[in-house]
Symmetry: C2
């Protein structure tokens, strides 16, 4: 049913590893120890767990609060005290308990990020940029995967809110009333990304999908294309793009825009199948707007298998400008989004809100670019 298959060298096994004659390794963690000695082992809770602030304080001959200050506000402490305490920290291998710290200070230094998926680099790069940027300021990211559609969002949100994050990042602007309500009640900064509205819950870093659809329509019209069609996933933002696309075409008197919808997230296969359905339905487009580069590749594959010349007979427009697509498909035009910038700016916005700075742009449109590759 496809171009794959054939020779495969399989190699599966569960290694019981009840080995008792260890390799001549000098590794301390090599065998020969009982389960109780391993991490997490039942009997491993000797000394009732980890070193505390008081332990360090005792060793350093100061009070616990001084140790706390050395860690969090060293400018309030003498250099000498700092040295002594640092020494004690190093000796004991003390790792501050952020749960306790967060509870006492009401600042968890945790930021939650809810995205549909990280399996495609679409959102993953944004999350990665966010994580990097927030990490520089001592924040960590709690990952929430809402799926397509964001059916799990409400449940996820409760689980996440329970950690008392200092901020929360959401993908998109469509949230259930319950979600909005809880978010408002939580009283923490909210950054919505990957979408646009002048009235976000709190702040927004994204771009308009309608505008993107509109821009693509104009672009294709400008290239002389007139028989436009759509192969798109049924996710909220893809639908917005399609709407913008259609609206722009309608403005030019083009109202017959065949469209097929595939389940989100779109894949090569569904893209290809979608194109097949489009063509089998009698459509003879000279341009197809796809909801992602991946879907576009499927469309491309189907077109090629039917002997349709791309971009000669057919322009294919993707979305996302995924890395691999750029090199590999000179025939594929696309819409470029600076996904890392979105994450970075979202982080900056979140930091500004968390530190309660005043100079905050509540809505930042990072824009997009329509990239034409068909002509090269």
């Amino acid at each position: 049913m496809s171009a794959l298959s054939t020779g495969r060298t399989s190699c599966k096994a569960g290694f019981p590893v009840a080995r008792s004659a260890p390799a001549p390794s000098r590794r301390k963690t090599a065998d020969g120890k009982s389960a109780a000695e391993r991490p997490g082992g039942r009997a491993s809770s000797r000394s009732s767990g980890s070193v505390t602030l008081s332990d360090v304080a005792k060793l350093a001959g100061v009070s616990p609060i001084t140790v706390s200050r050395v860690l969090n506000r060293p400018e309030l402490v003498t250099q000498n005290t700092i040295d002594v305490v640092r020494e004690a920290i190093a000796r004991t291998g003390y790792v501050p308990n952020l749960l306790a710290g967060g509870l006492a200070s009401k600042r968890s230094r945790l930021v939650a990020a809810i995205v549909p998926t990280i399996a495609s680099s679409m959102f993953a790069e944004t999350v990665e940029a966010l994580t990097d940027k927030l990490g520089e300021s001592g924040y960590q990211v709690l990952l929430g995967l809402s799926g397509y559609p964001a059916i799990r969002e409400d449940g996820l949100l409760d689980a996440i809110l329970g950690r008392r994050p200092d901020g929360i990042l959401l993908t998109g602007i469509m949230h259930s009333p319950a979600t909005r309500q809880r978010l408002l009640a939580a009283g923490i900064p909210v950054v919505e990304i990957w979408d646009y509205t002048p009235t976000p819950i709190d702040t927004l870093v994204g771009f308009s999908h309608e505008k993107a659809g509109d821009a693509v329509a104009r672009h294709l019209l400008g290239k002389g294309r007139r028989r436009l069609a759509v192969v798109g996933a049924d996710d909220d933002r893809a639908i917005l793009r399609r709407n913008g696309f259609r609206a722009a075409l309608a403005g030019q008197g083009i109202t017959d825009v065949p469209a097929v919808t595939v389940p989100a997230p779109g894949t090569l296969r569904t893209g290809r199948d979608g194109m097949a359905r489009l063509l089998d339905g009698g459509a003879r487009p000279d341009a197809v707007f796809c909801s992602s580069d991946i879907v576009a590749q499927g469309v491309l594959a189907e077109a090629q298998s039917r002997g349709i010349s791309v971009p000669g007979d057919l322009a294919v427009m993707g979305f996302g400008d995924l890395d691999f697509a750029a090199y590999t498909f000179p025939a594929l035009s696309t819409v470029r989004i600076d996904r890392r910038a979105m994450g970075r700016i979202a982080a900056e916005t979140m930091l500004a809100r968390m530190e309660d700075r005043g100079d905050i742009e509540r809505v930042i449109d990072i824009g997009f670019e329509v990239i034409e590759r068909a002509s090269t």
Copy 2:
């Protein structure tokens, strides 16, 4: 300098949005409210934050511990009490504070996952599967990105250990002595993934990269290839694969195996450049083993641009079996890893360890498959 560029419709702007004449929307969150009313606003700390267990208890007319039991061990409570308490929870919109809970119970219900990156779907899918699976049992994932090379691992680890995760997942088996030490000291389950050793720190779910390299070598030899070469990234696991590859060839008397190394993570561009370097260096391989599908595509591109027929004159072997590659490059063979299974099994292993079950396989080899597509 490539096949990209040309026509771009840019659309960038920062929308200041100091708008005061809101659209005729009925959204409660629309404009017209002061900063203090927004989430996270300075003056927003009315009622000193969120509802607590005691608030709920008061409303329900029971003691705090009873509310706690309803939430965590309902089997110890009368159905009637449960109903009353649930009602009070719903009325108040209570969200349990997991920081406090974690501190008191010494169970954070947090699992940390440290991977080099999630920008490629390589690790992202594993993390996603892990997140899904752990989520079913009420655990959340704290994401740590260690980068290439894992230079940030030690610092990251401290930040992460401070959250007192109930378990930790690490990519690879090569860790600094400090890392190993801290991990052992933490006394929590550790699952190492994406690699293989019979003596993991605690448990392991992965596969042998040497074996993979070995299998690829045998596969290519079996196809009649004799002039083998490598284009690989300088990451630990790619190097292991290369070593396994070379060792297998050496066993067959093939010792001249030209190899070029590119920085990790490999990209299309570096792959292509690497292939160029390989060829410019005088190598005339009839098969190239690449460290990833992405790199392999770059190699493919360079080969094609030089008029080398693939797979006729040259076999190209990737690694990872990324989705898009399967459809798009019938000439590209690869090594398939079930990344989601790895994440799922890692989650199961971790859960088993956290719940201290006895029947645990400490080392699970999930294997791989060499996929031949060149002949189709």
